[in-house]
Symmetry: C2
Subunit: 347 residues, 2 copies
C-alpha cells in the first residue's frame, strides 16, 4: 500500500511525539474552543460555564489482558481513566459516551458485565452515559470513552501554569498499580506453564485493586474547594510520575527538584517491588496507571495542605535552566527522564 514512499515507523516518534506531530498544524477556529489538544481535556466556553472534554481509547492486548482483567473491572477502569482527566482540570465530570468494538467471541452476557462496570463507575461519581456506538470488530475489544465535565471559567487548572518556587504535590500513593500488574503477570505465567496451580494472590488486595479497580480522585476536587485552594497547575498520573512531571514542567516552561524520600509508597507496594527485585522508586517513576493527581501550589498555600493525609509534597518547581532533577536518599542528583508507558514502544 505504501511501497513507493519513504516511510517512518510509528515507534520512532512514540505516542506523544506522534500526537504532537499530528496536531502541530491545528489552528482553533471556534471562539468557544478555549483549549484544544495538549491538556488532560479540551475546554469549550459556554458563556462562562466551561465544558471540559476528554477521550481515551483502551485496546485489548495493548491496555488490558482479558485473561486476568474481569470485564466488569475493565468497564469500571475505562470510565475512571477518563474521569481522572476531567478531575485533573479541576472540573467535575457529568456525562460520558461509550463506544465499543466487539468481536463475536463476546456473548451478550460478557458485554453486560462490561457495562455493569461502566455503570458502577458512573453511579459512584454521578455521571450519565448519554450516548455511544456499539459495533463489531474483526479482532479484539476496543473501548473508547469520551467524558464531558463542567467548571466555572476561573476554576479550571491547566498543566501549563506551574510557577517557579511552587510546591509539587501528589495525592494518595504511587507505584501500587504497577506492582499489582507485575503480580498478575507472574501468576499468568505460572498458570500458563501449569494450569493446575491456583493463582496465589492472597494478601495482595491493595495493589491488585490499584491495578484492577483504580479510583479517579473525584474526592480531591471538592476538597480543594473546601480548603480554598486552587492548584497553580495539575495533571493526572496515568503514565508514571516521571512522564507526568516532565509534561507539566515542559509545558509550563519550568524545571523541578523531586525528593525520592518524600515519595508516598504503600508498604505493600514497597514489599512487592522488592520481591520482584525492583526499586520501589522505579515503580513510582515509571509504573503508571495510578490515576492520582500531580499538582503545584503556591508556597503561600502550604499551610492549607500541611498534615492532609491525602496529599504529599514531593518537591518544588525551579527555573527551566535548572532542569528536571531527582534527589535520591543519599543526596545525589539524577536527571529525570521519561520512561513512562508508551503505546508505540517496540518490545
Amino acid at each position: 500500500m505504501f511501497e513507493n514512499k519513504t516511510t517512518t515507523e510509528l515507534h520512532t516518534l512514540g505516542e506523544f511525539g506522534l500526537i504532537r506531530h499530528l496536531t502541530a498544524q491545528i489552528e482553533l477556529q471556534q471562539q468557544s474552543s478555549v483549549r484544544g489538544v495538549g491538556d488532560d481535556a479540551a475546554v469549550i466556553d459556554n458563556a462562562g460555564m466551561m465544558t471540559v472534554v476528554s477521550t481515551d481509547m483502551l485496546v485489548e492486548g495493548v491496555h488490558f489482558d482479558l485473561s486476568y482483567m474481569p470485564l466488569k473491572h475493565l468497564g469500571y477502569k475505562a470510565v475512571m481513566v477518563n474521569l481522572s482527566d476531567i478531575y485533573a482540570m479541576n472540573a467535575t465530570p457529568r456525562q460520558i459516551t461509550v463506544s465499543l468494538a466487539l468481536s463475536s467471541k463476546f456473548p451478550i452476557e460478557a458485554v453486560e458485565e462490561l457495562y455493569n462496570g461502566i455503570y458502577a463507575a458512573c453511579a459512584k461519581w454521578k455521571v450519565d452515559v448519554v450516548g455511544g456506538d456499539t459495533t463489531s470488530s474483526k479482532s479484539g475489544l476496543v473501548i473508547s470513552i469520551t467524558a464531558i465535565g463542567v467548571a466555572h471559567k476561573d476554576e479550571l487548572v491547566y498543566r501549563t501554569t506551574a510557577q517557579e518556587k511552587d510546591l509539587l504535590c501528589v495525592t494518595g500513593d504511587l507505584g501500587g498499580a504497577y506492582a499489582g500488574l507485575l503480580l498478575l503477570e507472574r501468576e499468568k505465567e505460572i498458570y500458563k506453564s501449569n494450569p493446575g496451580i491456583q493463582p496465589d494472590l492472597e494478601g495482595n488486595d491493595y495493589i491488585l485493586e490499584r491495578q484492577l479497580k483504580p479510583e479517579a480522585r473525584g474526592d480531591i476536587i471538592p476538597m480543594f474547594k473546601e480548603m480554598g485552594l486552587k492548584p497553580t497547575s495539575m495533571i493526572d498520573i496515568s503514565d508514571g510520575l516521571a512522564s507526568e512531571v516532565l509534561h507539566l514542567c515542559k509545558e509550563s516552561g519550568v524545571g523541578c527538584n523531586l525528593y525520592e524520600e518524600k515519595f508516598p509508597i504503600d508498604p505493600m507496594t514497597f514489599e512487592r517491588a522488592r520481591s520482584f527485585n525492583l526499586d520501589p522508586t522505579t515503580c513510582v517513576l515509571n509504573g503508571g496507571e495510578d490515576y492520582e493527581l500531580l499538582f503545584t501550589i503556591a508556597l503561600g498555600d502550604y499551610e492549607k495542605i500541611k498534615g492532609n493525609p491525602h496529599i504529599t509534597t514531593i518537591g518544588h518547581v525551579t527555573n527551566a535552566a535548572a532542569g528536571y532533577n531527582l534527589i535520591i536518599r543519599d543526596g545525589s542528583v539524577y536527571p529525570i527522564t521519561a520512561q513512562g508507558w508508551d503505546a508505540f514502544r517496540k518490545e
Copy 2:
C-alpha cells in the same frame, strides 16, 4: 472464559437491539443531561445554549476496506459521519475529538494522510479538533470520533416528535453510496483474480464520491433558518431509508406512507443498480451511507420547501395503527422492514 454461563451470541440481538438492551437501565442523573442515548446525539444544557454530542466508531474490515478506501478519504468520511449526526439535531458542530488505534503496519505518512482527510473535513465545516487519543492496536485500524455541537434550546429537532399528517422529506438523492460500494467491490474482485487489470471506474465519479467522500448536509441547517422552517422531527440517513424511517416513526409513535415514485435517485445510481441486476429502490431503502437528512414538516410548511432542489417530499406521516407502508409504482402496498446495515449481522 465464559464456559459456565448460558451465553447469547451478539448477532441474535443486532446492533440496535444490543444498544437498547444495554442502555435500557440508564437513568439520567444530571439536570444538564437533557437527552441521552437514543437520538442522533446527546444534549447537554448550559443555561439555554445546548451542547450536542455524538460519537461514532469505524473499524477496519467492518466499516471500511483499505484496499480501495484511500486513508485521506477515510479520515474525511469518519468526520462527516459524526457531523451528520449533529446536523440531524438541527445543531451546528463546533469541535471533535479523534481517537485512533493503529497497528504498526501504518507508517507515520499513512497516519498523516488520515489526519489530512480529518483536517480537510474540519476546515470545510469550520470544526476544531480539540482532543483525542492515539494508541497502538494488535490488529486493524479503529477510528473513534466524538463531535460536539451547539444549538439554542428551541432550535433542537429530535427524532421522537413527528406528528400525524406531517410530510416526510429527504435532502439530496439516495442509494448512490451503495451503488458506489458495489462498483468498488466488483473491481476489487476482478483485481484479486487478475492483478494486471486496471480498475474500470471511469464515468462513475458521482457514485464513487458518494461512497468514498460523503458530505454531511451542513448546508441544510442554515437553509432551514433562512426559510423560517423548523422540521418537526429529523434523523440522518446512515443505514438506509427503511431503517431510518422506522426509527423515526417508532420513536415518534406514528406510522408512514412512502411513495416509491417520489424517491430521489440520481440517474447514475439508477443505471449502476440496474447493471448489477438490483432494483434501485432497494439501494435507496437498504443501501445506507448516504448521510442525507430525513425529516418531517408540518403540512402548513409545504410552501416553504416547494420547488427547493435540495428537498424531496417522499411521503407522509400516518397514525401508528396504519403501519409503515411503501406504495410502489403500480399502486400496491408493502410493509417497510428494516434491512439496513447491521454491524452484528452474520454473513
